[in-house]
């Protein structure tokens, strides 16, 4: 690792061109991996301590080891559906370092003896799809993809598959259902995809950033990668920083960094004249952290200990102008829109909950509806097939707990007291103060 502390995106500009990638040592890890026993490649990933960067943070090597040995066919599915609000890092990885992803897919495919790999990329990512398409063609022409990869006898097939706009398809079992040509509804687990995934065959689902890290792990060795980070959160992570900061963007940091390093150090802190009101630390499905928790580490354990979740690594900064009820409403509306409708608590609860937040925001709620909202959240929590129901209930409940007086004020005053200042207000109100 260089002194920048970055691994995956340790360069300026991009390495879309395969020669640029090869010149920087690219595809050498594939060569080494093909010379290793498949099980040793999995062991290297396991030693590195790499944990899934898609949201759940499950150890990558361990997940790969769950696949039954020698069963064919077996598939690798790459989760490039990136749609958790606040998250835009996989897109930057695909745009700037697409060959690292392809090399990671090839190494993992070899390690698990995959029949083929599928990249499920969200349909809206058209330019990113084109970048990957071109990169795959280049990799094919250089003998990294296709029959008998680099003379190893291993055949690698990678299919680029575009989604069609549905957040839920990022959930791994919904992704598989969607890839099978159906409405993207999650399936119950068990059986886990490792046992019965795509077409009921053993399947590994991994996030873009997870797989793109693999070539670097093979190159550095598992121990060297594990030397970066904390006791249980290893390596670096690409954090997506957005909202009210001076320099929003993606920043790759070792997992020893803190929220303060990210927001103040890299993001330049709050814009002139603003103060921080709250932080969303891991994408819109995660509970809020408060400004006095800025020294919280960005590793999985520290964020959990602070009362939230590391999620997808998407940090959203909220400034003092913001109406928290409006923010809650946007979050609620989103999960309501994306609920696939399979489970009653999620399907009904996201609708009911959203209606209550909307009433509070527009001033038509009755006394007691703040508690009603908490009650609805409680009735959704933990009662569904997939985590989407919780992705509604947990953040909404945290908005209420941290800013209860703001919710109550909307009811007492019969409307939003912050219409003239909240940046979100113009989505819901005809804001007079906004210059045309």
């Amino acid at each position: 690792m260089s002194e920048t502390g970055r691994i995956l995106l340790d360069f300026d500009g991009d390495r879309r061109n395969i020669h640029a990638y090869e010149q920087a040592g690219g595809y050498a890890s594939l060569r080494s991996a093909l010379g290793m026993e498949a099980a040793d490649v999995v062991a290297t990933v396991d030693t590195s301590g790499l944990r899934g960067r898609g949201g759940a943070g499950f150890p990558t090597g361990r997940k790969a080891s769950f696949l039954p040995k020698g069963r064919t066919p077996a598939y690798l599915c790459v989760n490039a559906d990136e749609s958790e609000p606040g998250t835009f890092k996989d897109r930057e990885i695909m745009l700037r370092n697409p060959h690292a992803l392809i090399e990671g897919i090839l190494i993992m495919s070899y390690a698990m003896s995959a029949t083929s790999a599928f990249i499920y990329i969200r349909g809206e990512y058209r330019t990113e799809f084109e970048v990957l398409k071109r990169a795959l063609e280049e990799a094919h022409s250089r003998g990294y993809v296709g029959r008998n990869v680099l003379g190893s006898g291993y055949d690698a097939t990678i299919v680029l598959h575009r989604g069609a706009g549905a957040y839920i398809c990022g959930e791994e079992t919904a992704l598989l259902t969607s890839l099978e040509g159906e409405r993207g509804q999650p399936r119950s687990k068990p059986p886990f995809p490792a046992i019965a995934g795509l077409y009921a065959a053993p399947t590994l689902v991994n996030n873009v950033e997870t797989l793109a890290s693999v070539p670097f792990i093979v190159k550095m060795g598992g121990e060297a990668y594990a030397a970066v980070g904390t006791e249980r959160s290893k390596g670096t992570r690409v954090f997506s920083l957005s909202g009210n900061v001076k320099r929003p963007g993606n920043y790759e940091l070792p997992l020893t960094a803190t929220l303060r390093d990210l927001i103040e150090g890299h993001g330049g802190g709050m814009p002139e004249g603003r103060t921080m009101k709250a932080i969303i630390p891991g994408g819109s499905s995660t509970p809020l952290l408060m400004p006095d928790q800025l020294d919280t580490g960005l590793d999985y354990e520290s964020i959990a200990a602070a009362g939230s979740m590391a999620g997808s690594g998407a940090v959203v900064v909220i400034d003092d102008r913001t109406c928290m009820v409006q923010l809650a409403l946007r979050v609620a509306e989103f999960y309501r829109h994306e609920s696939c409708g399979k489970c009653t608590p999620c399907r009904e609860g996201t609708k009911w909950g959203t209606d209550v937040v909307r009433r509070i925001e527009d001033g038509s709620a009755r006394q007691g509806e703040v508690d009603l909202l908490l009650n609805v959240c409680d009735r959704i929590l933990g009662k569904n097939l997939c985590p989407l129901g919780d992705a509604f209930a947990m953040p909404i409940a945290s908005y209420v707990t941290h800013f209860r007086e703001e919710f109550q004020r909307h009811i007492d005053e019969g409307g939003c007291p912050f219409v003239e200042q909240s940046p979100i207000a113009s989505l819901y109100h005809d804001v007079s103060g906004v210059p045309a």
């Binding site: 990136e82 330019t127 299919v159 575009r162 549905a166 040509g181 159906e182 330049g268 923010l327």
Partner: protein, 184 residues
């Protein structure tokens, strides 16, 4: 624009990676049916080609008309009703005809925090339509969308599936002038 928001948008311009030039559109010389069959051939099981097939049909007809569903059903072997039920689950399929240019404004949280609402209102005002509708001359459809994966470079606007970031209200007029100047 609020000066604090302007500062954030200026920061976004610096951190956003350079986007490559778009690839030329796919050759459409082969008939739709053949293009669907080529998609089917990519997968171990043909049903996986349904979502790509619907996209191909939409590109051909501009939206998923009854005829488009018939074509997809014919080529894939599924019934039109099944094709429709799948299509209706996903946001990117058009079940109604749309304008010649589709403008989508992300209104999810990160974009909303940096003024997506103002951008949206400006589009509404300039086009004289509400979000979710098409101008009377059939040239523009305006839609709001959920997170597009450009949160740090918001407000994110896509025009005919290409992202424009960050897109403050001041960019609305020049964009529309440019699109209006184009043939079609």
């Amino acid at each position: 624009m609020d000066p604090a928001t302007a500062e954030t948008l200026a920061g976004a311009v610096e951190t956003r990676p350079q986007m490559p030039a778009p690839l030329p559109p796919d050759e459409r010389s082969a008939p739709l049916r053949d293009r669907i069959l080529a998609a089917v051939a990519l997968y171990p099981e043909p049903r996986s080609a349904l979502i790509p097939a619907l996209r191909l049909a939409q590109e051909e007809y501009g939206w998923l008309s009854t005829e488009a569903f018939e074509q997809v059903a014919d080529a894939t072997g599924f019934t039109p009703a099944l094709c429709k039920s799948v299509a209706s689950f996903y946001d990117m399929y058009r079940l109604h005809p749309a304008g010649a240019h589709e403008i989508c404004v992300c209104t999810n949280i990160s974009c909303a925090l940096v003024g997506a609402g103002e951008t949206l209102r400006e589009f509404s005002r300039e086009l004289g339509i509400e979000p979710g509708s098409t101008t009377a001359d059939g040239r523009f459809t305006l839609r709001t969308v959920e997170c597009y994966g450009g949160c740090g470079w918001g407000p994110v606007v896509s025009v005919d599936e290409r992202y424009h970031e960050p897109f403050g209200p001041d960019r609305v007029r020049p964009l529309l002038d440019e699109l209006r100047g184009q043939p079609g």
